[in-house]
């Protein structure tokens, strides 16, 4: 549709070259983001091990796992829709990454073509794809897992959205580049996180972020000890590998969105640093907390973070 504007140069050869460079940039960007996401997961495993007085796996363990999983020879599939769900599940977060300001790292600017609402709705394509695959997988554990995942989504979405909308109210824009432009890069006083009354919204959204990443205490959907890893129960081999990649991509997207909205993520590099910081905070809680029951988690999420975030939103709107 808009390829002409995407490429935008005159002669045929130059156009082709431009398209090639663009494609390469996109691929490099996606590769980089997924790699960083996997690295984060490596940190997670090392960190948790250390908290438990263990040595833990090497930090590149997730890369090894992904290679192993993708090289499995005969992963079980129920139906071609199962495969489709998995492809949709990985494709959604990858498309989502392209709409985040992190893409400036390779000099792309696709993030100026969409806004917060798009990101919020693009973010569910991945989970929905995997939910479809779990449903096709026909295991009752998978169905329970999806039920729990969606219940959790209903829970954390409310405080998370209220928190984000407070920033929208403050800056009067849904555009991510404008939101980050309204903050300073390194001076915490210039971040939305530390501005009154936005700090309330930020805290509410930050608690919800734990649910968004399905870290403890909000990891009911993938409770390996209760429901045989829920959604993933029928996923083996390359399907599980793609799910790990999806998890890595979503981690980057979710944390990146939060960093841009509250921590002044301006350029790609500082956003990535902030992503690391956010992730360390999240896994510190994850390492020491237990898991809520699904109904408890839902109640908690619709109570405290929601009240705090709503207060932040109302104070911002009526300021």
């Amino acid at each position: 549709m808009n390829t002409a504007t995407v490429v935008g140069t005159a002669s045929m050869g130059a156009k082709f070259l431009g398209a090639l460079v663009l494609t390469l940039k996109v691929l490099i960007y996606l590769f980089l983001m997924v790699m960083i996401g996997l690295f984060l997961m490596g940190i997670y495993r090392k960190f948790t091990a250390r908290v438990q007085y263990r040595v833990g796996p090497p930090i590149w363990q997730p890369y090894i796992d992904v290679i192993k999983l993708l090289s499995k020879k005969d992963a079980a599939t129920k139906n071609w829709v199962f495969d489709l769900g998995v492809i949709m599940g990985l494709g959604g977060p990858l498309a989502l990454l392209l709409f985040l300001p992190l893409d400036t790292i390779v000099g792309l600017n696709f993030h100026t073509k969409g806004d917060l609402i798009l990101i919020l709705y693009l973010a569910v394509v991945g989970p929905l794809g995997f939910a479809l695959a779990a449903s096709v997988g026909a295991s009752p554990w998978g169905a329970i897992g999806v039920g729990r995942a969606l219940s959790m989504m209903l829970g954390y979405e409310l405080p998370f959205i209220l928190g984000l909308l407070a920033v929208v109210a403050k800056d009067g824009t849904l555009l991510l580049q404008k939101v980050s432009a309204a903050q300073s890069m390194w001076n915490p006083a210039g971040w939305h996180y530390f501005q009154w009354p936005l700090i309330l919204a930020a805290i509410g959204a930050h608690i919800a972020l734990q649910g968004v990443m399905s870290e403890k205490p909000f990891d009911q959907a993938i409770a390996p000890h209760e429901i045989a890893s829920g959604i993933m129960v029928e996923f083996g081999g390359k399907y599980l590998g793609m799910m790990l990649l999806m998890k890595a991509a979503s981690l980057m997207a979710e944390l990146g969105l939060f960093a841009v909205f509250f921590l002044g993520g301006t350029t790609a590099w500082d956003t990535i640093v902030k992503i690391f910081a956010l992730f360390i905070i999240a896994i510190s809680f994850d390492a020491v907390l237990g898991r809520f029951r699904p109904d408890q988690a839902f109640t908690v999420l619709w109570k405290w973070p929601t009240i705090i975030a709503l207060l932040g939103l109302l104070l911002t709107v009526f300021a």
Partner: protein, 675 residues
């Protein structure tokens, strides 16, 4: 071309009635198959013609007259009172939707009616209902509207009565509420008559303009008139607190009937609300009410704000109720109600801000355009996806021998993938996945709410959207995937729909994506260029709004390039496909081969987990639904029932007493009418 000059607003209804008569005649045929096919062809052809005419009128194609040249239909009753029906662009905009849905539903009904169900009432009554809807959409006079409205309600009641699947009293509930609506409308009309000192001709546009004047003279009476007039409209659009009829009525009927009802018929309510909101503006912003109801609260008149909050709450609550349903028909009914409330909320926002927020005309214009056209576009999106969801369910309904409960369905997608995909895309559109029609329309509504700085409202609308994921997944899992609940042998007897059904399904799927890929064009097309004009006006006033071919933009506030979205989404999927194809192999396993703690699955086990699917959060939210409006009505009904039996106890049970009472009532009504 001579024929063209005779075209009037009645042409389309007459063709539909003709189709209906033909269907009735074909109903006499003994051979069931031939009967159905002939009925389908006759009515679908009529619907296709109606669709063509409306599209041609709205788009200004050749071969039909210009919209303005289409003869109005008028009946002169008295000197001052003339009933008139006339075609104008909003008629066309809604009629395209109604006729399109009619065509698809009629054509697909071959796949949804079980062999032992009689199709004749459906094929006879549905075109009649569509004709009545058309007349309602074209009435420019309150009395004319009343007659069309009641005709419509009556035909709908007949349909519901015939296809009362569950025998839970759904049609009677509908009849009761239609009766309430009719009485309320009469009362409203009568109050208008009184308020205007008997001088009004009941023209709709005239009334919209004179309402402020009437309000200055008779504030209470006019407000009461407007509110009473609004009741039937709210009932039809199932807006709280007048929504209690909808789930049981939609839920208890046949899927094809429900498809037409929720996708097309309910849109009359949206259309009427659109008219009504303008009248409401007129009365709220005039005379006595300016300082109370019309006082601004958050950029909107207070009355509008209350209405909007009510609708947003309603949307959240119905969406929460939807995912707790155990029956697919009820689930879709609740989902439909939630979506309708979205639309009316957008209308209320858009129109409310035009009178509430005067600081910056550009902002007002922008929010108005977004809200108004967002509502219309969402009406379309909802029409398409709700129809598709009900039709897909209908196909499973036929093949399962009439089941609509989730715990008796399951795994049908293995046997009917195309139908599944229709339902799947419908659900993707419902939850507004980008590039689906539902996203392009909801996006407009969100933009309106956020740009108008209604943040809590937006948050509620977004949460209602999240809740829609829950019910969408329940629909997908409960009907189409998971384990079969009737055994494998039965599943092998299930067949995919015929080639005809597949064609329809593919077209519907195409529509779902089309409206989401090039929204600007589609929206402009169905509104007869009205969007372009609004945007142009806004641009001339230096406004920030852009709804272009494939771009939504409010300058400096939001932006969405659908072209980029399509390309980048494809890129994401392609990269995923690359990973998929370059990685290791896979093997197909049978449906009963799943992880069950290494215990081989036996078909007699019921492991299609659907009953307690969202059990934990259902338990959390359940207490908050203890106080339901329906229960309040039942309580009131109980009191009235007691009162009625009290009156009844006065008389001896002699029929003559009733006769006299009835005669007295008629005399009273006549006296009222004269004065």
């Amino acid at each position: 071309m001579g024929m063209l000059t005779h075209w009037s607003v009645l042409t389309v209804p007459m063709v539909l009635v003709l189709g209906s008569i033909l269907a009735a005649l074909f109903g006499l045929i003994k051979n069931e198959k031939a009967k159905r096919v002939l009925q389908m062809i006759s009515t679908t052809a009529a619907a296709a013609f109606a669709l063509y005419v409306n599209i041609a009128l709205v788009a200004g194609w050749k071969g039909v007259p210009k919209m303005a040249d289409l003869k109005p239909f008028t009946v002169k009753l008295t000197e001052t009172l003339t009933l008139s029906w006339q075609y104008y662009w909003i008629t066309g905009t809604f009629a395209i939707l109604v006729m399109g849905v009619l065509m698809f539903v009629l054509a697909y009904a071959l796949e949804t009616f079980k062999d032992d169900e009689n199709t004749t009432p459906f094929y006879v009554l549905t075109p009649l209902l569509a004709a009545a809807i058309y007349m309602t959409l074209a009435s420019v006079n309150l009395i004319a509207l009343f007659f069309s409205w009641e005709l419509m309600s009556f035909v709908a009641f007949l349909m519901l009565l015939y296809y009362d699947r569950t025998k839970e009293g759904g049609p009677w509930l509908y009849a009761f509420w239609s009766g309430v609506g009719a009485m309320s409308m009469i009362a409203g009309i009568f109050l208008f008559y009184l308020a205007s000192d008997g001088k009004t001709g009941f023209g709709l546009f005239e009334l919209m303009q004179t309402v402020p004047v009437l309000t200055i003279k008779h504030p209470y009476m006019t407000l009461a008139a407007v509110l009473l007039l609004g009741v039937p409209f709210m009932i039809k659009a199932s807006i709280p607190p007048f929504h209690t009829w909808a789930p049981r009525t939609y839920g208890s009927t046949h899927p094809s009937v429900a498809a037409f009802f929720s996708a097309a018929y309910s849109k009359v309510g949206i259309f009427a609300m659109l008219m009504w909101v303008y009248m409401f503006v007129g009365t709220v912003m005039s005379g006595k009410w300016v300082t109370t109801l019309g006082a601004n609260f958050r950029n909107m008149p207070t009355a509008f704000f209350i209405l909007a909050i009510l609708l947003a709450f309603g949307a959240v609550f119905t969406s929460l109720l939807a995912f707790a349903q155990k029956d697919a028909m009820y689930l879709l009914a609740y989902s439909s109600m939630g979506q309708l409330m979205y639309m009316v909320m957008a209308l209320v926002l858009g129109i409310g801000i035009t009178v509430g927020y005067q600081k910056d005309m550009n902002v007002t214009m922008t929010v108005y355009t977004l809200g108004f056209f967002g509502a219309i576009y969402h009406a379309y999106a909802h029409g398409v996806f709700e129809m598709a969801a009900y039709m897909a369910l209908g196909a499973a309904y036929k093949r399962s021998g009439g089941e609509t409960e989730f715990n008796k369905l399951g795994a049908y997608a293995h046997r009917m993938p195309v139908t599944f995909f229709m339902g799947f895309l419908a659900m993707l559109s419902t939850v507004s996945i980008p590039l689906m029609w539902g996203f392009a329309s909801k996006y407009l509504i969100y933009q309106a709410a956020l740009y108008g700085r209604f943040f809590v409202l937006s948050a509620m609308a977004l949460i209602a959207g999240t809740a829609s994921f829950l019910y969408a997944f329940r629909y997908i899992h409960g009907i189409w995937w998971g384990q079969p609940t009737k055994g494998y042998d039965f599943m092998h007897s299930v067949k995919e729909v015929s080639a005809w059904g597949i064609i329809i399904a593919l077209v519907v799927m195409g529509l779902t994506v089309l409206g989401g890929a090039i929204p600007g064009q589609v929206l402009n097309f169905i509104t007869g260029n009205a969007v372009n004009q609004m945007v142009m006006q806004s641009a001339m006033a230096g406004g920030p709004l852009l709804i272009d071919k494939a771009v939504y933009m409010v300058n400096g506030f939001s932006i969405l390039h659908f072209g980029y979205l399509a390309i980048l989404f494809t890129v994401g999927i392609l990269v995923a496909l690359l990973v998929y194809t370059t990685s290791g192999g896979s093997r197909k396993v049978n449906l009963d081969d799943f992880y069950n703690s290494a215990e081989p699955y036996r078909p007699e086990w019921q492991v299609q987990l659907i009953g307690a699917f969202y059990g934990p959060i259902e338990r959390v939210i359940e207490p908050y639904f203890k106080v339901s409006i329906e229960r309040v009505y039942n309580w009131l009904g109980g009191i009235f029932g007691w009162f009625a039996s009290y009156i009844e106890s006065w008389n001896t049970g002699d029929t003559r007493d009733y006769t006299w009472a009835l005669a007295g009532l008629i005399v009273l009504l006549m006296v009222l009418w004269v004065f």
